[in-house]
Symmetry: C2
Subunit: 403 residues, 2 copies
């Protein structure tokens, strides 16, 4: 087992804020002496989206702590989910059936165990304890906070100021989350910076109920591949943890140069010493492409078998590396925004790459045509092309689309 | 049974506000046709003070409705009482034990049945239904109101503005009271004007849960004997419903002239026609003392047997009427603020009323000394006297204290 100070270094890597480090060290020292793992809490909403590297930031941090010997407890907020929005006004918060909640939880767990160590993870549903509270218990819980304290929360404050109604029941979502910490005796709770209010409320409640306060670890929000916005599926700037190795590898290669270290810190489990070396190499003018290649191998390796990673590397080399794509490939100018793959045929014939439409179709059937490194099929003949798309014909012929 | 319109007149007598009269008439018409009594709700705090005519305003109104054939349901807020203030910060709201709550309720009921008709009153404790609610039920209840709606309540608004903490649990006191109305299917709820927010919340909740809305009857706050401040025990301007007939009679005689009609309306069950006649007499310049004498007899008669009232009248006549107290009685000047009954002895001897201290003590033992119409005993020899106190020695000798 690593010493408390060595553990501190790993735990604090990439963390945006820790409340607070002194208390964390005390907990680590006690755990070290008594050989008792700390309890790391993560609360998850059972709305079950596909997990991407943005979501994975907190999960990776937990995995790192599991490697240090600690115990993760994942709380599925099924009680909150079952209540939903009793006013029925918000479409986002529909009350979910017990079965739907269980089903979502399963899908979720399948994904999180791509990151977490199953042996050191306990999954619990908060309805287990919350549904047992009666009116008197709920009032005792309510009395631990005040109206002004609640209205300090960013979203509540904005809604109150703008006259957007806040249901009284909404004040209970932070309180429920805080109560979960009391119930499982959490030592550390993780979350994004958007969870600041709720996680600190856990500390307050634990204290007012006479328990040790949990440490709050706030992880930064990971920017997506555009380098600006938060990684999100709807913005298309994401890397999904379930994506095939080839796609994942290629996407990491698209990470903006200035985010390399951030991805190292938030999307890998590399030791701080390793990251320090990378920083040094970068400041010594190392080749950015090589560094990114390394990062892509590490990240892909976290979610895929060694063999798949090797295949992804070869594929990338073959399809995108300078070795295979010439620097000055011909440009094919398409006139209309809506022009599709089919519309490139006259140009390709003119370039002498193919002789006829039927040869093009034959090549497609033989998997001889690639668009941006992905083999295309006949149905994609009508797919619209975008500015900058690269079409590969056979083994060596390329053309770049200009619209 | 009186017609709905005749009932309306009696019910609305002295009422400050009715929300709303149109709906009340509909309810009365339905009750009249179906010969079903309306359910009149009154919620009581189990903190059990001694009831005075100020508290009695709502009770008298209920009694009037009972006379019209309706059913009263008194809700003892024991659930709220048992919760108290879970923060322990407010000394006023200590959590009460089950036994203490029951005991207080008994004391309370003993007093309210001096006014209400026992046959048409049901007493219920709200813990009966509130303690059965679970977290999910509580959230459904909470969702029927919003934070801004709650902060509209006068006291919450003031506290929020002045930075005085409001516990989240406090938002539930109005909601609990509203839920009581749902549970007992209240047709009418009564309260002082300070209950406006809570009683209207009952209407809102009934509506949102698909029930008929209750009518809110707000009774005015009765001024005390000083004619200015709200009647209250701590201000000493009250008439307690358990006070002896003599005291009660005398206190009513002290009601300021301009409050005679208000006391008729709020502290008696007299028919509106009778009150109209009194108003007429007053505007025709009737003797105020005679009118007040009548009022004192009516009010004392509401809380005492006919014989006791007669005794009180004779006693008042004897002790306070002009017939027995001469207009120009001698003044006895006492020097010091702390001078007591004992200190009047030298002056009384000087006046020739008594010969010695021992004669004074003998007179006391024979019940021959009265202070302000009340017989004094030997222990009161050391009671401090106040400016204006009247001492009666024997049957015909009076002296007035001046300090």
């Amino acid at each position: 087992m690593l010493t408390p100070n060595e553990q501190m270094r790993i735990i604090c890597k990439g963390v945006r804020q820790c409340v607070n480090e002194k208390e964390l060290l005390v907990k680590l020292e006690k755990s070290y002496k008594q050989e008792e793992p700390l309890i790391i809490k993560l609360g998850l909403d059972p709305s079950a989206p596909d997990i991407h590297l943005g979501h994975a930031v907190v999960l990776r941090k937990i995995r790192q702590m599991q490697e240090l010997g600690h115990q993760a407890v994942i709380i599925i907020g099924d009680f909150t989910g079952k209540i939903g929005d009793p006013t029925g006004k918000s479409k986002g918060r529909v009350a979910l059936s017990d079965e739907k909640v269980k089903e979502n939880a399963l899908t979720y767990c399948e994904q999180i165990f791509k990151i977490l160590d199953k042996e050191r993870t306990m999954v619990r549903f908060n309805s287990e304890w919350l549904s047992k509270l009666n009116f008197e218990d709920v009032m005792r819980l309510a009395a631990t906070s005040t109206v002004s304290r609640m209205l300090e929360r960013d979203d509540f404050q904005k809604r109150y100021k703008n006259g957007v109604p806040i249901g009284i029941h909404e004040f209970f979502y932070p309180l429920m989350q805080a109560y979960d910490s009391v119930e499982i005796k959490a030592d550390i709770e993780l979350g994004g910076t958007d969870q600041t209010f709720n996680i600190l409320m856990g500390r307050t409640l634990q204290k007012s109920m006479g328990y040790d306060q949990q440490i709050a670890l706030f992880m930064p929000i990971l920017e997506g591949l555009d380098g600006v916005a938060k990684m999100s599926k709807s913005l298309g700037n994401y890397i999904g943890v379930s994506e095939p190795a080839e796609i994942m590898f290629k996407k990491v290669m698209e990470v903006p140069d200035d985010l390399i270290i951030r991805y190292y810190e938030l999307a890998t489990d590399e030791h701080p010493d390793v990251i320090d070396r990378v920083k040094e190499e970068l400041s010594n003018g190392a080749n950015l492409r090589d560094i990114k290649f390394q990062l892509a191998k590490i990240i892909t390796g976290l979610y895929h078998e060694e063999e798949e990673v090797q295949n992804a590397v070869s594929y990338y080399d073959m399809a995108f590396s300078k070795k295979t794509i010439p620097d000055d490939i011909p440009i094919l100018l398409l006139d209309l925004e809506k022009d599709t793959v089919k519309d490139t045929i006259p140009g390709l014939i003119e370039l002498g790459y193919i002789k006829s439409k039927s040869e093009f179709i034959r090549l497609i059937r033989q998997s001889g045509i690639q668009i941006n490194g992905e083999k295309m099929n006949e149905e994609e003949m009508n797919s619209v092309l975008f500015n900058g798309d690269v079409i590969k014909i056979g083994k060596k012929r390329f053309v770049k689309i200009n619209k």
